[in-house]
């Protein structure tokens, strides 16, 4: 009798042990390994910005990033919306600078790895991106010559140690910009070409310093990465790297039936591309057509890769050179955001349309048609348990 009960106990133990260990196919293991932070390659040099990895430039960039003097009324800096203790975002549905914008602030972890910037990719380098809010009337609302004067007065010595001598600004108007008010535009147009070029050069260097600082903002290791590392090495998972059954179900759905990994791929959980996923517009905001309208803007930007302020060879301009300029799928297409840290930074989507991850998952399962253009998302049969599991899995990317 005793041997029989021992035998049965052993069988039960074997079965339980089998259940407790996550069971992944080789294909699933490969996908999971491709998402782990350990698969993130080293950050490539940015040859279009020869100051990208100059420590003094990054230090000046950091000063400028947090300096409210870098705005029209001295109340807004980059860090007003890109808050250092909030993953460099602001928790608001739409960013608020000098005015109320129409887009959600993007977090900055790993931003230097993007080929395109903003939700619609209307800039093609990190340094060109950094310049744009400076002159946007709803963000920092400054103007180009005012920034040049400000840099000379406030940071002249630091600037010159990095970028060389500042130009003579004695005849440059206090307020002028090709993008400003009518008076500022008139003042800009009245400036001699070489003077405008000098100011543009100082302005570009502001962007290059801020970009040098932003290159240091990288994604941090999460519970998912510890789990993935143990799975890849075959080590026994310990402590918080152990995934619950629900987390494992969510992960399997994420890389399987729910097709999330199609766009949210690689160690940053993004394909860095633009997609129409049928996200509804927000009432009362100006019309927003996403990528299709950004193409013209990036082509027209004097600070783009083909412009006079790029360092290095034009070979670095492949993304701009081979950009899709006219295709129906660019309508209401927005950049795939990284999902690292997403669980702790609602609201979601390009204008903060959804207040929780449950709403996001419900949106993708339902796959409503887009108000304009065609959504790439197909309807998905997900049970309540499966939806909850996806959300629980996403939280492991924030822990």
């Amino acid at each position: 009798m005793r041997w029989l009960s021992r035998f049965l106990a052993l069988m039960v133990a074997v079965v339980l042990a089998g259940c407790g260990k996550p069971d992944f196919s080789d294909a699933e293991k490969k996908t999971i390994a491709s998402l782990a932070l350990s698969a993130l390659p080293p950050l490539k040099p940015d040859t279009t910005n020869r100051f990208a990895d100059v420590p003094a430039a990054a230090a000046l960039g950091s000063t400028l990033f947090f300096d409210q003097g870098m705005s029209r009324d001295g109340t807004v800096s980059c860090s007003t919306c890109h808050k250092i203790d909030r993953q460099f975002q602001d928790d608001l549905p739409q960013a608020v600078g000098v005015g109320h914008t129409n887009r959600r602030t993007m977090p900055l972890a790993g931003v230097a790895r993007d080929p395109w910037f903003f939700w619609d990719g209307r800039r093609d380098s990190l340094w060109a991106q950094a310049l744009t809010p400076l002159e946007n009337p709803l963000e920092q609302a400054g103007n180009r010559t005012a920034y040049a004067h400000y840099i000379k007065a406030r940071f002249g010595e630091r600037y010159e140690r990095i970028f060389g001598p500042l130009p003579d600004l004695s005849t440059v108007p206090a307020n002028a910009s090709p993008l400003g008010t009518d008076a500022e535009k008139a003042a800009w147009n009245a400036m001699p070409d070489d003077e405008a070029e000098d100011v543009n050069r100082v302005f570009a260097n502001i962007g290059k310093a801020i970009a040098a600082f932003e290159r240091s903002i990288e994604p941090a290791q999460t519970r998912f990465d510890r789990f993935a590392l143990d799975l890849a090495t075959g080590a026994e998972t310990k402590g918080d790297a152990v995934f619950s059954r629900e987390e494992i179900l969510g992960l399997k759905l994420f890389i399987g039936k729910a097709n999330c990994v199609t766009c949210h791929e690689g160690p940053r959980f993004t394909d860095s591309g633009f997609h129409n996923t049928g996200v509804p517009p927000v009432a009362d905001l100006p019309p927003d057509r996403g990528r299709i309208d950004a193409v013209r803007q990036v082509d027209a930007d004097p600070f783009n890769c083909f412009g006079a302020f790029r360092d290095g060879a034009a070979a670095a301009c492949g993304e701009l050179r081979f950009m899709v300029r006219d295709a129906p799928e660019l309508v209401r297409a927005y950049k795939t955001p990284s999902l690292r840290g997403a669980a702790t930074r609602p609201p979601y989507m390009h204008a903060g349309q959804f207040s929780s991850l449950d709403e996001v998952v419900a949106h993708y399962a339902k796959a409503v048609p887009s108000v304009e253009g065609t959504s790439e998302v197909h309807p998905l049969e997900l049970s309540d348990r499966e939806r909850a599991a996806l959300v629980v899995f996403l939280k492991t990317l924030s822990e």
């Binding site: 199609t262 766009c263 791929e265 860095s272 591309g273 081979f322 790439e376």
Partner: protein, 149 residues
């Protein structure tokens, strides 16, 4: 009494054997029976069999998410290199209703029927299609390559 135990033991033995067989069957069976994928051959006849086309990454490996150069090699059926061809490129992911994330272009002729196709980028894993419209003195033809990542 003893015989009952014997039967019980035999029953348990048979049950264990059955479990073992089932385990072997389920653990070694393929996880899913995927339908045959698209034809991913890198060399094929063009649609009207005017040319033989080959399409391969210039550096041998496909890197997902990176801009890459590929080579399109065009020859006639007799193996003569096709020179001076005008090449238009399109494509996309048929299952996701979107086109290519970039606009690849034929940027250089390298001789021996080889054309450099720059700006190729596959941003996601899955089934991609790259379509070439080719126009040369011998005539015009098209060819479609499947790339599965």
């Amino acid at each position: 009494m003893a015989s009952i135990w014997r039967y019980l033991l035999a029953g348990l033995g048979l049950a264990a054997l059955l479990v073992g067989i089932l385990a072997v069957v389920f653990l070694t069976a393929p996880r899913s029976s995927l339908p045959a994928g698209p034809d991913v051959s890198r060399t094929k006849n063009t649609a009207n069999a005017l040319f033989v086309a080959s399409f391969a990454p210039e550096r041998g490996v496909v890197r997902q998410g990176e801009l890459q150069s590929w080579l399109l090699t065009l020859k006639t059926k007799a193996g003569v290199p096709v020179e001076g061809a005008a090449i238009a490129i399109s494509g996309g992911m048929p299952l996701h209703s979107h086109g290519l994330p970039t606009s690849p272009q034929a940027t250089d002729y390298l001789g021996d029927g080889r054309y450099r196709i720059e700006g190729v980028k596959f941003t996601m894993s899955g089934w991609w299609q790259v379509h070439f419209a080719i126009s040369a003195t011998a005539g015009s033809d098209t060819v479609l390559f499947n790339v599965v990542l």
